[in-house]
């Protein structure tokens, strides 16, 4: 699932990831929608922008951990938020400019639950 307030970015990112074999099952434009969609859609992975219009993606990541079937969260941003990963239970951080299937795959490989299911 993709969470970013910029529709153009979500569109390009979806096409980029899907071209690399990922399936994007949903999108959200703000933190509240992201938490709700994570509960409803039960994605395996949520690419979560840190700076969202209604709050911090870091806070949203903590809430997403509490959904019934918590997904792996990877933070994305144009700024450097690598430091925020540990505090919210995210799996990793990818600068938006470097987003690609390979980069996402590398971030997820550290999770043993996903390692075998990665495209």
């Amino acid at each position: 699932m993709l969470v970013d307030d910029q529709a153009a970015f979500r569109t390009v990112a979806r096409r980029l990831l899907e071209s690399d074999g990922f399936l994007v099952i949903g999108e959200a434009a703000d933190a509240r929608s992201a938490v709700r969609a994570a509960g409803e859609l039960a994605p395996d992975v949520v690419l979560l922008d840190v700076r969202l219009p209604d709050g911090s993606g870091v806070d949203a990541a903590r809430l997403i951990r509490d959904v019934e079937r918590p997904p792996v969260v990877v933070l994305i941003s144009t700024a450097d938020y690598a430091h925020a990963v540990n505090g919210c239970g995210a799996q990793g951080f990818i600068p938006k400019g470097q987003l690609s299937g390979a980069r996402l795959r590398a971030a997820l490989e550290a999770d043993p639950a996903l390692g075998s299911d990665l495209p």
Partner: protein, 574 residues
């Protein structure tokens, strides 16, 4: 000029005495008796030309020599000396009553002076028109030239009236001065003491004249001895007047001492009152400041008080500035006898009040400036955050999206795609990536989002990670460092690391951030070449110093040549 005239006049007058057969010691004593007052008058004039006492003293000196002229051979001059010989007493009593201001404020004293003028005039007229010289029995007085009077009765009556009237009036004048003295406080008595001694001299002189004319003196030596005593007393009196006025000069100095004594605490009433008491020598003095809030004068406890009645036992001096009350002094009335002293004190108190007002004004303006600087800093930080957010949400986001789109396009190019096109696309993606990085660094430099979202410790870690020189970071900070303080500390460390990278040629840098009490302490130490002086600071570090000062902190730089550079910041937590 007046002194020269007086001295020459005295010498000429004594010359007539010499011709009349007077002895040298008597003549010298006589000339001293006149010159003493001439010199005293000149000294007073030199020190305090605005004080009228100087011309009274000179008049007393010159008129002393007038009486000496009677012995000259010239009939007219002799008659002048005979007729006007006693007027020097008038001027002595006058200066006695007018001391120390030269004015005669009391009605009783003005009446006494008027009586003396009348008596002196009566005597002069009597000597001019009523005197009948003895009939060739050896008297060498000038004959009456104006009226055909042969009976000496009227002349004797006029002389007796003058003698007894004058003696009584001088006694009353002395009593008046004594009353002034007894009713005065310590400073007043100190001021009037010379006047009393001068008055005694006048009385002794009068007694001498009285005895001299009573025909009871049979011993010439006794008569001369009395004359020497009289001259000595005149010299003492002249010196006493000068000393008294000189002491007033000392009182002025006391005002100067008062001004110097008005230290930083003197603006409050109690120390100021103590300083005034010391300066004026009046332990009973009370200072009552004016309170606009109370609408009146207040005491030590800020309680409104009514001023006592100005009844002669206590005097009240109101101090105002442009018609607005400042304070009131309740003091001994004797202090009013030296208006210069009171005026000086009033000026000093007004000066103190002005100083206090200006100090309050400066303090208030400093508080306003500090608050204004803080507001400017906050506004600047808010603007930085807005610009950074605009960059992040706008240009950065669009460029990132374009970059992704180009990469997607590149990925979708078929194997048979134009190699040049593929190469151009790859280069465009690469250039765009660099542009995005530069834009991110720019936004980060404007305002590090990490500072707002993760706090100072994380922001410093981020700085250390990105620094071109290895940084050993040690952070022990609370989570609730106020945003302006955190931003100041962050930008200071960022600027220091930038300078180190540019100039220090350091191998390692140590950054220590800790809290001590209610202060945040930041230390940045490098092992570089040192030698950085404050004047050599770049505008960046000077800006940081201004920022540190604006939040109430302090900054120190120690940079000995060859010994590295140590930057220390101490900032309030809030």
């Amino acid at each position: 000029m007046l002194l020269v005239v007086g001295v020459v006049f005295g010498v000429l007058a004594e010359r007539t005495q010499q011709l009349a057969g007077r002895s040298w010691p008597v003549m010298i004593a006589d000339i001293l008796g006149g010159w003493a007052f001439l010199v005293a008058g000149m000294l007073v004039w030199g020190r305090r030309p605005g004080n009228r006492c100087w011309w009274l003293l000179m008049a007393a000196g010159i008129s002393w020599f007038v009486g000496t002229l009677w012995a000259t051979a010239d009939e007219v001059v002799s008659l002048i000396g005979f007729a006007f010989g006693g007027w020097h007493y008038l001027f002595m009593v006058w200066v006695l009553l007018a001391f120390p201001t030269g004015l005669v404020p009391l009605l009783r004293d003005r009446i006494l002076l008027g009586v003396l003028v009348v008596l002196s005039t009566v005597r002069t007229l009597g000597r001019l028109f009523l005197f009948v010289p003895p009939d060739g029995t050896g008297c060498d007085c000038a004959p009456n030239r104006f009226l055909p009077i042969t009976d000496p009765m009227w002349f004797d009556a006029a002389e007796s009236l003058y003698m007894w009237g004058y003696t009584a009036t001088i006694l009353l004048a002395l009593i008046s001065v004594a009353v002034r003295w007894s009713g005065s406080s310590r400073p007043g008595r100190r001021m009037l003491a010379p006047v009393l001694s001068a008055g005694t001299a006048v009385l002794a002189g009068q007694a001498y004249d009285r005895l001299n004319q009573s025909h009871e003196i049979v011993d010439v030596l006794t008569q001369e001895g009395m004359f020497y005593v009289l001259v000595l007393l005149r010299v003492i009196a002249a010196a006493a007047f000068v000393f008294g006025l000189w002491r007033l000069k000392g009182s002025r100095s006391a005002v100067a001492d008062l001004v110097a004594d008005l230290g930083p605490d003197a603006a409050s009433p109690a120390p100021l009152e103590a300083a005034l008491r010391r300066a004026l020598g009046d332990p009973t003095l009370v200072l009552l400041p004016w309170s606009p809030a109370a609408g009146g004068y207040v005491d030590d406890h800020e309680q409104a008080v009514a001023l006592p009645v100005d009844d002669g036992r206590r005097a009240i001096t109101r101090i105002e500035r442009r018609g607005v009350p400042v304070a009131a002094l309740v003091h001994d009335p004797a202090l009013l006898e030296d208006p210069g002293l009171i005026n000086g004190v009033v000026a000093a108190v007004r000066l103190t009040a002005d100083n206090e007002r200006l100090r309050d004004e400066v303090d208030r303006q400093l508080v306003e400036v500090a608050a204004s600087r803080s507001r400017i800093l906050d506004a600047g930080d808010a603007e930085r955050r807005r610009i950074e957010r605009d960059l992040h949400d706008g240009a950065q986001q669009r460029l990132v999206t374009i970059g992704l789109a180009l990469r997607l396009t590149e990925a979708r190019l078929g194997k048979d795609a134009d190699p040049q096109m593929r190469s151009d696309l790859v280069q465009a993606v690469k250039d765009l990536g660099e542009a995005i990085d530069e834009l991110r660094d720019l936004a980060q430099g404007i305002h590090p989002s990490i500072l707002t979202e993760a706090g100072l410790a994380a922001a410093l870690e981020s700085l250390a990670d990105r620094a071109p020189v290895p940084v050993h970071l040690q952070v022990d900070l609370p989570d609730d460092v106020a945003p302006p303080i955190a931003a100041t500390a962050y930008f200071a460390v960022a600027e220091a690391l930038t300078n180190i990278a540019k100039h220090a040629r350091a191998a390692t840098v140590e950054v220590l951030a800790s809290s001590r009490g209610d202060r945040v302490e930041i230390v940045v130490v490098d092992d570089g070449v040192g030698g950085a002086s404050e004047s050599a600071f770049g505008s960046g570090l000077r800006g940081i110093a201004d920022r540190v000062a604006a939040v109430g902190g302090s900054m120190r730089v120690h940079s000995p040549a060859g010994g590295g550079t140590r930057l220390e910041l101490s900032l309030p937590c809030e």
